[in-house]
Structure formats: structure tokens, C-alpha cells
């Protein structure tokens, strides 16, 4: 009974996770070993088992590696930027008076509540070459923000950070509020500056929260799709701003190669699992030393 009990407690969670998460992943894995295209879906041609053929095709495509590298770089920059902005504003929230705090929280909640599609479209209009507010304000009408690869990544990245920093900010703000005042007071009495108090007292105490937001950010930013797809109309000029999810979508849906697209999806899932496992392990190690 005692061995079975933990499993019993997990049942309700499993009842939700297995249909909502397990089944799609299972289907994804299943599709990835079949030659499954539009003709097969609508029943025009029989489905054939191709084993790891789809994986061989994906891994043998130099474009896949280029997009993968680009996605990793872009996601890493986004995670760092989101955390920096979120943490800085969380600290700011604890320092300002009630009115600016409410205003900042509301603005952040607005950004958070905006659907990715809407937010991306609005930002795209703001940066429109001829009619955009940004170009009018800067007096550089006609400047195309979506021409140069890095400028485009900058604008899209800003949109993504704008969408995702509120969660980081509010989570860390709640965490900071939960730190007993006496601890910070003690640090101050020991002569710690604000900077030191943040890094040596707050951050270690917030470590569990930071872990969660980092992992969430990694997963979100690695899976980025809407902003790139909407703002660069599917990957930018000559596909220069493509990321893995957009590539998978275009391969799977655009070209009706559902089997191939699933293989990319499985590879992405595995990469994310590995990153997350490494990160959790690293945290446990440092946790033991403390």
C-alpha cells in the first residue's frame, strides 16, 4: 500500500496530463516514422512505414542545422533579456510608491494579457516602413525594420520580451515580498550595498522561483513562433529570420509533409528535455554546496 500510495496521489494529475499531453506526443512520435503527406491524410494513398527515414532527411538538411543554431542563439538572448528586464522591474516595484507600482503592474498585465497574434501585429504596425509610429517619431520614414537580419531579430525580440517579462516580473516581485524584512535589514546592518543585497541575499533566496521562470522562459523562447511568423511574414527575406518552429510548420503544413514535420517536432521536444534536465541538475548541485 505504501508503495502504491504516491502513484495514487498522482492519478488526478495523470488523468489530465495523459490525454492532454501524452496523447499528442504519442501521435507526434507515431507520425514521425511514417511517410504521411496530404494524399495519405485524405485517404488518396496508403500510408507507409519509413522507420527513421524522416529523421535522416531532417538531420541531413543543412538548412535544419542553420535554423537550429539560429533558434538556440535567439532563444538564449531572449531568456537573458526577459530575465534582466523582469528582475530589474521586480526590484523597481518594491522600491516605488503605490501609484507608480499600480501603473507599472497594470501596464505589465496589459502586455501579458495581449494575445501573441495581436501584440505581434500591433508591433508590426508600429514599425511599418511608411506608416509606422516609430518611423514617424524618429523621422526616418521609409526605413524598413524587417530588412536587415539583426535589426529584424531585435524588433521581434523586443516584442517577445514585452510579452513575456510580466510573468517574470510578477513572480519575482511576489518572491521578493516574501523575503522577511529582517533578513534584508540584517544585510543592511552588516554593510551590504543594495547591489550586494540583491545578489547575495535575494537571489539565493529566490533560487527556486528563478529556476521556474528560467525553465519556462527557455521553453517559451525556444518554441517561439507567432511573432516570427507574423512579423517577418514566415521567416523574413530569403528565410533569414526563420526559427525551428516556423521551419517545422512550413515543412509540415506548408509542404504537406506531416511525417517530416513531426520528426522535427520530436527532435525539438528532445532538445528541450535535455536542456531542462541539465539545468535542473546544475541547480541541485549548487544547492547542495550552499
Amino acid at each position: 500500500m505504501s508503495r502504491a500510495r504516491p502513484w495514487l496521489y498522482l492519478l488526478p494529475t495523470a488523468a489530465v496530463l495523459v490525454p492532454l499531453f501524452g496523447y499528442p506526443v504519442y501521435m507526434l512520435g507515431l507520425l514521425s516514422v511514417f511517410d504521411y503527406r496530404q494524399a495519405q491524410v485524405s485517404g488518396g494513398q496508403p500510408t507507409t512505414f519509413v522507420g527513421l527515414g524522416n529523421y535522416a532527411t531532417v538531420l541531413g538538411d543543412p538548412r535544419f542545422w542553420q535554423v537550429l543554431l539560429q533558434t538556440v542563439g535567439f532563444a538564449a538572448a531572449l531568456v537573458v533579456a526577459t530575465l534582466a528586464v523582469g528582475a530589474a522591474l521586480a526590484v523597481l516595484l518594491t522600491r516605488v510608491s503605490a501609484f507608480p507600482r499600480a501603473a507599472l503592474s497594470l501596464a505589465a498585465l496589459g502586455a501579458w494579457a495581449a494575445p501573441a497574434m495581436t501584440g505581434a501585429t500591433v508591433w508590426m504596425f508600429l514599425f511599418d516602413a511608411d506608416l509606422g509610429l516609430v518611423n514617424q517619431a524618429l523621422g526616418i520614414e521609409g526605413f524598413n525594420w524587417f530588412y536587415d537580419r539583426w535589426v529584424t531579430f531585435g524588433v521581434v525580440g523586443a516584442t517577445v520580451v514585452w510579452h513575456s517579462f510580466p510573468l517574470v516580473m510578477l513572480t519575482l516581485y511576489a518572491g521578493i515580498q516574501a523575503i522577511p524584512g529582517s533578513v534584508l535589514e540584517a544585510a543592511a546592518l552588516d554593510g551590504a550595498s543594495a547591489w550586494h543585497a540583491f545578489w547575495r541575499v535575494m537571489v539565493p533566496m529566490l533560487r527556486p522561483l528563478v529556476t521556474i521562470v528560467v525553465i519556462q522562459s527557455i521553453i517559451w523562447d525556444f518554441k517561439i513562433f507567432t511573432q516570427i511568423y507574423v512579423m517577418t511574414s514566415g521567416g523574413g527575406i530569403a528565410g533569414q529570420n526563420s526559427v525551428l518552429n516556423v521551419y517545422a510548420y512550413q515543412t509540415a503544413f506548408g509542404s504537406s509533409e506531416y511525417g517530416l514535420g513531426s520528426a522535427i517536432g520530436v527532435i525539438m521536444t528532445l532538445i528541450l528535455l535535455v536542456i531542462t534536465l541539465f539545468y535542473i541538475r546544475a541547480l541541485h548541485r549548487t544547492g547542495e554546496r550552499l
Partner: protein, 413 residues
Amino acid sequence: MRFLYCAAALVVLTACAPSTAPSTGGGDEKTGTLRVWLFDEPNRAPKDKVVQEAIKEFTAAHDGVEVEVAYVPTTTARHERFKGAFNDPASSPDVAEYGNTDLAEYAAAGAGGDLTADLGGQDLTAELVRSASVDGKQYGLPWFVGIRALYYRTDVFTELGLEPPASIEELTATARAIREKKPDLYGIAVGGEYTFGALPFVWAAGGDITSLDGPEARRGVQAYTGLLSEDVCPPQACASLTGGKTVELFAGGKAAMGILGNFNRSAVDAGAAAGKYAVVPLPGFDKGSLAPAFAGGNNLGVMKNAKHRSLAVEFVKLLGGKTYQVKMYEAMGNLPTLTSARTEVAGKEPFLKPFLDTVEAGTKFVPVDPAWVKIDNGKVIPTMLQKVATGRSSVDEATTEAATAVKAAFGRS
């Protein structure tokens, strides 16, 4: 961990082929709502007016029948809409307008209803019937064809003392001259994503989609991407333009020339360029020759999953019939497919001459193969053009890469 093993065992045990759509989704109900999908247009109002007229006539003749029209965007997103309809019979329309370039893929997917028996004896040329057929089965009624030609601004040409170009070389020189004297105008509106604006250059040089790395195709790509330059249509602004955007630029008075279709006439007439333009056939490389135009067009088809098959066929025959083809020409400038309708409009409309001349000189079509949809969706040709236009690749590199992608698309289909 044990759970994972169990899950793995489960996967192995139950692994079977993924599901396919039920093969019988269609029906032949005589009442209810007939669902129709038509393509959206940059200027939809006149099209909608004609369609509503046809619907009125149709519902007056059929009791208990309503017609519901949905407009599908013509971007590549249309493929998702259509595939959704193929996969889920419940969301399938009865009648759909679709591009003749998409036919091969849709037919291979087993999605269109075979209309050979229903549409026999229509007043169509054999060539047009072929554009709606795969393996001898007719899957739709050609509704209209579209031919592109060179639109130019008469006011600008008169002011600068220019003649309409008679060769691609002259076209380039004219475009440069205009931008030099009028820097706020693009010499010609071309786009890096404007496949059907670029292909005539390739065809004019003797190249084709299946031989993009040949010397002829390279000459064509060189000529087209030469227009995507600072002194004609700067890549900063033009590299990401689609065909539709070049129409907007010309109609909005921002470009002195544009490669537009006869079907874009109403959009231009609604813009700043109205009344200040004329049309000549797009020239080829040799002086006086014409570049082969792309013979794109749209068909009206009945979906295999249609729930009102007979009603759908009747509606296709009505909307695709002579009366409404002529009305659609008047509203949208769409060239009719029925020979009788075309003769009727050609007689009373001098505007059509450059387009009909282009047709006479010979047109080209994309490969009738599902591979084309992959090439189109994979943006193979836009990527090639954009890489050259932005200076990231040479013409040789970009065309070699594109040729490899084309080969891969044919190999997998």
C-alpha cells in the same frame, strides 16, 4: 520511471498507421445551406456584387436553399484552409474556387469531385479543359484566366519623353531613367516574392522552373533581380514585396511601371493611377518579342465532401456560365474562359488587346504536379530572388540552390 516503461510498452503495442479521413463525407441533400468558398480580392466589392446577384438568381430557383459565401485569402494560408476541408468533411464547402496551379495537389489528395460527366459539352477550348483536368478527369469549370502585362504611367512617360519599352533591356533602361529623374517613384514595381512577375523573364530567356540552374534561366533571373536594385526598386523596400503589394504600389501612384494582370484593372482604377496608365505586353529579350506570360486562372470545383452535390454542380454551372462570366469581366476584368464569352468581351474592349496579344504569342504554365505546391510553399523562387537582390548570393549560387530544392520537391512527391 516505471510509468515511462509502461507508456513505452503501450506505444509499441498499439502502434498502428495514423488515421486517415473517412472516405465518404459527401452527400446529395436538396435543401439547406450551400457553402461556397471564393478567393478574396484586393478590391472585393465588385466581385461580391456579381456573386450576390448569382446567389439571388440561384435561391429564387431553388426553394429552401441558402447560399453562404466565405472569402478565402489568396496567400499561402489558403492551402491550410483547403487541407482542413479535405481532412474534416464537416468543415468542407460544397463549391470552391481554387487556383489552377493548386489543382494537381488537390487532385492527388483525392479532394475534388470528378465532374467530367457533369460539365461535358461546355464551350471551352481543349487547352482550358486540360488546365482543369488531371489524368483525363475534369475536376472543375475554368472560371477565368488571368494574364499579366506591363502597365505604365502615361503621364510620367509623356513628361519624360519616354516610349513604352520593346525589350527587357529597354525596360531596365527606362526604369532607371525614371527613377533618376523622379527619385520618389520606383522605376518599376517588382518584388522578391513576386514569382509570377519573375517567371516571364526566365521563360523569355528560354529557361524553365525545372532547369533554374541552366544558362537561360540564369539570364532571366539576372535580368529580373537587376530591377531589384537601388536605381530601380531598392531592395530595402522591394525585396519582400509580393505580387499583390506591387499592384498596390502601382495603383497608389508610387511606381511608374508594374507587371500587373488584366484582373488588377479595377484595383488600379480605384487608386491614384486611375486614368493615367496604359498597358503593353511585357517584352522579351529580343527587341519586339514578347515574354511568355503565366496562364494562371481559377476554376470552380465541387468538393468530394460536398453535402449538396447536385446543387453544387448547378451553382458552378450558373456562376461559371456565360452570363456571369461576362458580368465578372465587367466587374473585375477577369478574362472569361468560355469562348463565346471571350469573343463577346474582346469585341467591345480595346483594353484587352495587350493581354490577348500576349496569349497569342504563347503562354506558360507551372508543372502540373503536386511538387509545384511544395516549391511554391517552400518559397523556393522568392528565396532565390531575395538572395540575389540582397547581395547574399550570386545568381549562380542562388539558382543552383533553387534547382536543388526543385529537384528535391519532385523527388519526394
